[in-house]
């Protein structure tokens, strides 16, 4: 009973002391600020999976909804190098159509006594949203309008090029300015999922789809709520043969493309399963996108050589806009620019042709989707997606909080413990032990740590192939205890000579007893202060190492975001002015967290070492 009471009393005392320190911190402005910021980041770290919706290393669209992209193939969440979604609200970001005039000077060169135009084809700088007019201004001031197809032709879809008739160019005097006027557009675009419910989980989704067929007697379309992929509902197309031809049904999903810029890329996806009365039955699916404003239909993919056969499982079909098939079908390396030149009404079309069916068949369609990737995503955009698909920078930032906090706090904790231990030993024992420890500390203090870390981590990398976060914590700990153990030693040296230690010794206290009961309590205020003030160094060291690409590549740390920026080459090509949102948030986060710990340390210093307060 007695020990319990003292323990309780001691606990009470500790709690009271803690409360006391907390009230004093809350009185100091710096301390409150520091604690506030730290608490904010701790909450962020704990709630990271809730706040950050995407995987910070290998983000992907749900493979259950897009089963063609399961396993190693990943359906990206957004295109690379997206702007943040709020970017479009910035006043200097333009939106809408804009007229462009590209000018070229006709230069004639003399060769073998004849004049030749130096060049007759001109590359346009921008995407062409609407066809163009070409005018030629002669050096004497007269302006001629050139006639399309007679004097010039274009290839805007494939290579964005205007070709001038060579004989005409030879006739135009040297120095003629040829102006090409065309319409282009710019806007921050967003990801568009044309079906909000690609898994077809409710019958209402069917209302968004138009079913068109010339053989309306043969087809019966209904919602089936159990046969879908993952048994979550699908479209069931019941077919019973009424004519001798191959009968066809068309699914059309109309939508509006609202942007003045084309999407950056697009993906089409569907899953299908055929049940038929004969194993020879085939369904050939072809996917089109139709632009109703230009009245053009573009073949995206046809699976004639890989038709849907009767099978017990769903088969998954997908096509990305960068694939060979789509680019050759559309006839441009940038099919999205050809299909979506302007805001327009568009239809996503899937044509299903039933072949070799005896009497009846049922086709189940699920996971139907056409995804248009825009150039904005998330709160902070996306990175350049190397080596994995593009990451949501905001998610990586939030998850990075954990890494920074863990590395910072653990390194500080371990190095403070080591520093305390060695400082106590060295100060209390003195003599040979003291000399050895202090000389060793001097040596470590003199070594330039960052170059040494770089060498050590590079060696580890080439030896074991990887570095993990614990290696970095151990390194920072090993090179972080020296200055603290020095100050502990000097404190111990002065405490050792005080009368109460002598009294304890006279009373028969052993070394261990005196160190733990009399010296440590006197050194402890310093421990708290050092704990707080050595966190920033550890955080910044970890960030610097990751910045140099020497961090753990499988851990989403703040420094790694910056490393990705460094090696992406964006700093050279587009510059900091355009992609500042990529690097400044992690930098600010590092700075804020580091400053917060320093402020806390200073506040603790003032509270726990009252001597300082009197002096100031």
């Amino acid at each position: 009973m007695k020990t319990l009471a003292t323990r309780k009393a001691r606990l009470k005392f500790t709690v009271r002391r803690f409360k006391n320190v907390m009230t004093q911190i809350s009185k100091s402005k710096r301390g409150t600020l520091g604690v506030g910021v730290i608490v904010f980041f701790v909450i962020l770290a704990i709630l990271a999976p809730v706040i950050a919706p995407y995987d910070p290393i290998r983000p992907r669209r749900d493979p259950e909804q897009y089963p063609a992209f399961s396993g190693q193939t990943i359906l990206k969440i957004a295109d690379k190098l997206c702007y943040p979604v709020w970017y479009k609200y910035l006043p200097w970001i333009t939106r809408g159509p804009s007229e462009r005039i590209d000018q070229f000077v006709n230069t004639l060169i003399l060769s073998d006594g004849e004049l030749y135009p130096k060049t007759t084809s001109f590359q346009l700088r921008d995407r062409v949203a609407e066809p163009l007019t070409v005018t030629a201004e002669l050096p004497n001031g007269t302006v001629i309008e050139l006639v399309q197809n007679k004097e010039w032709t274009w290839d805007i879809e494939k290579i964005r090029q205007v070709n001038i008739d060579p004989t005409l160019a030879t006739n135009l005097p040297n120095g003629t300015v040829i102006s090409v006027k065309y319409l282009t557009g710019f806007e921050i675009t967003e990801n568009i999922d044309i079906l909000s419910d690609p898994g077809i989980t409710s019958s209402e989704t069917l209302n968004k789809i138009n079913f068109l067929t010339n053989y309306s007697d043969s087809f019966n379309i209904e919602f089936n709520n159990e046969k879908g992929f993952k048994n979550d509902g699908c479209i069931a197309i019941e077919y019973s043969k009424t004519s001798s031809e191959d009968e066809e049904i068309t699914l059309e999903i109309p939508f509006e493309y609202p942007h003045w810029s084309p999407p950056k890329s697009f993906v089409t996806h569907f899953s299908a399963r055929l049940e038929a009365d004969t194993s020879n039955a085939r369904v050939i699916a072809t996917v089109y996108i139709e632009n109703k404003n230009t009245n053009k239909t573009y073949l995206i993919s046809s699976i004639a050589d890989n038709p849907i056969k009767p099978s017990p499982q769903f088969l998954h079909y997908s096509e990305v806009s960068t694939s060979n098939e789509t680019t050759t079908n559309v006839g441009s390396l940038y099919p999205e620019q050809v299909i979506f030149p302007l805001p327009s009404n568009v239809s996503f079309i899937v044509k299903l042709k039933f072949q070799n069916v005896n009497q009846s068949a049922t086709l189940y369609l699920d996971n139907l989707q056409c995804l248009l990737y825009g150039n904005s995503f998330g709160l902070l955009g996306t990175d350049n997606g190397s080596p994995y698909p593009p990451r949501d920078i905001f998610s990586t930032l939030v998850h990075g909080t954990r890494v920074s906090l863990i590395v910072g706090v653990l390194s500080a904790l371990f190095s403070t413990i080591i520093g305390l231990f060695l400082g106590l030993i060295s100060g209390y024992m003195g003599g040979f032990v003291d000399e050895i420890i202090m000389r060793f500390a001097d040596l470590l203090l003199v070594l330039p740590t960052l170059p040494l870390f770089i060498v050590l981590i590079a060696v580890m990398k080439s030896t074991y192939g990887l570095v993990n976060i614990w290696n970095i914590i151990i390194l920072i700990t090993f090179f972080g205890w020296m200055s603290f153990s020095r100050s502990v030693r000097s404190m111990v040296l002065s405490i050792r000579e005080r009368p109460f230690i002598e009294a304890a010794k006279a009373a028969g206290g052993g070394k261990f007893y005196i160190i733990t009961r009399h010296i440590i309590p006197n050194v402890f205020p310093l421990v708290y202060v050092t704990l707080a003030t050595s966190v920033p160094g550890a955080i910044i060291t970890e960030a610097s190492l990751s910045w140099l690409g020497l961090g753990d590549p499988s851990v989403p740390s703040w420094g790694k975001i910056l490393y990705d920026f460094n090696v992406s080459g964006i700093a050279v090509t587009k510059g900091l002015t355009e992609y500042w949102f990529w690097i400044f948030p992690p930098c600010v986060a590092i700075a804020l967290l580091a400053t917060a710990f320093i402020l806390l340390g200073f506040a603790l210093d003032e509270i726990l070492n009252p001597k300082l307060r009197e002096r100031r």
Partner: protein
């Protein structure tokens, strides 16, 4: 103990440090499993026979016992014999010579500037303690102290290179037209234009620490009796501050100069990489990315450790000259 004995002691101490650095270098290298020849042979995938392998090991002295190899590495590091670059075959020392000089210029300028400015501002902050200037200076120092250097660098680039176009954002020497030989004045001027921003970045990175340290040291001495005496004598406030307070407060500052050098080397690595400034830092980056070049990294570490030890030694000497107590204590 006279000055001579003191200097002798410091020399011995520095030599011990150099020995320790060389030993650490050797230990790191022998930590690698297998030897470099074995790795080379593995990369050839069996296109080399056992005899040739043994011959190679013998040629590179890898078949000798550990202590002989240690002695070899001791001698070659002491004579700056780092071997040849794997790619170009040029001696590593030649590869490092120019970057080393550039780094010393950059770090020296930044360090001197930040010490002078930091001490001046620190004295002002201490003298006007708890005033507005003090609050601004200490808060500012705390912030620059905890802001990572690449952030400082990016902001400096954004403001002074991209927005204002005052200085180039990166590089270390302009692209002179081919065949153009600049006059030495032009050369120096061009070099200066490229060195301004990295120096400024390093300066911002370090000056906060100096302000805080000076302020603390000055506050420590400002209430001493001899300062009161000096004031009572009727000395001018400025004389009291700079002759009596600062001179005594500067002793811990000098020891910090040496230690600051160690952290400055790290800051310089990142700054030079950021500004593509052709120094040891950029060399380090090229030795890390994309494939680590270990021998070059080790040479870089050895040289930077040596620089720090030399800086330490000089600081110790200064300390001994300024503070007579050290010599006779």
């Amino acid at each position: 103990m006279g000055l001579r004995a003191y200097v002798a002691r410091r020399i011995v101490y520095s030599i011990i440090l150099i020995w320790a650095v060389i030993t650490i270098n050797f230990l790191i290298f022998s930590m690698l499993p297998g030897d470099p020849i074995a790795q080379y042979v593995a990369s050839l995938k069996g296109r080399i026979d056992k005899e040739r392998y043994e011959q190679l090991r013998h040629d590179f002295g890898l078949d000798q016992p550990l202590h002989v190899r240690y002695l070899h590495s001791l001698i070659s590091l002491l004579t700056f014999n780092f071997g040849r670059e794997a790619g170009s075959g040029e001696p590593v020392l030649n590869v490092m010579r120019e970057p080393m000089l550039n780094t010393i210029i950059l770090m020296g300028t930044a360090e001197v500037l930040s010490i002078i400015v930091g001490i001046l501002l620190g004295v002002i902050a201490a003298y006007k303690r708890d005033g507005i200037i003090d609050t601004v200076l200490t808060t500012g120092s705390l912030v620059t102290y905890s802001v990572p250097i690449f952030f400082v660098g990016w902001i400096v680039i954004l403001i002074f290179a991209i927005q204002l176009h005052w200085f180039p954002a990166g590089g270390w020497i302009p692209d002179w037209p081919r065949g153009y030989v600049p006059t030495s004045f032009e050369y120096v001027l061009a070099r200066l234009r490229y060195i301004v921003l990295p120096t400024f970045t390093l300066f911002l990175f370090t000056v906060g620490g100096w302000i805080l340290l000076t302020r603390a040291c000055v506050l420590e001495t400002i209430n001493e009796d001899y300062v009161v005496t000096a004031r009572a004598k009727g000395l001018k406030e400025r004389t009291v501050l700079y002759k009596h307070v600062l001179k005594n407060a500067s002793l811990p500052l000098i020891t910090s100069v040496a230690l600051a050098f160690a952290s400055l080397v790290g800051g310089a690595i990142i700054t030079e990489t950021l500004f593509s400034y052709n120094g040891m830092g950029l060399l380090t980056w090229h030795a890390i990315y994309p494939v680590p070049n270990l021998p070059l990294l080790q040479a870089i570490f050895y040289i930077s450790a040596l620089l720090v030890i030399i800086a330490n030694f000089i600081a110790d000497l200064l300390y001994g000259i300024i503070d007579p107590r050290i010599r006779y204590g």
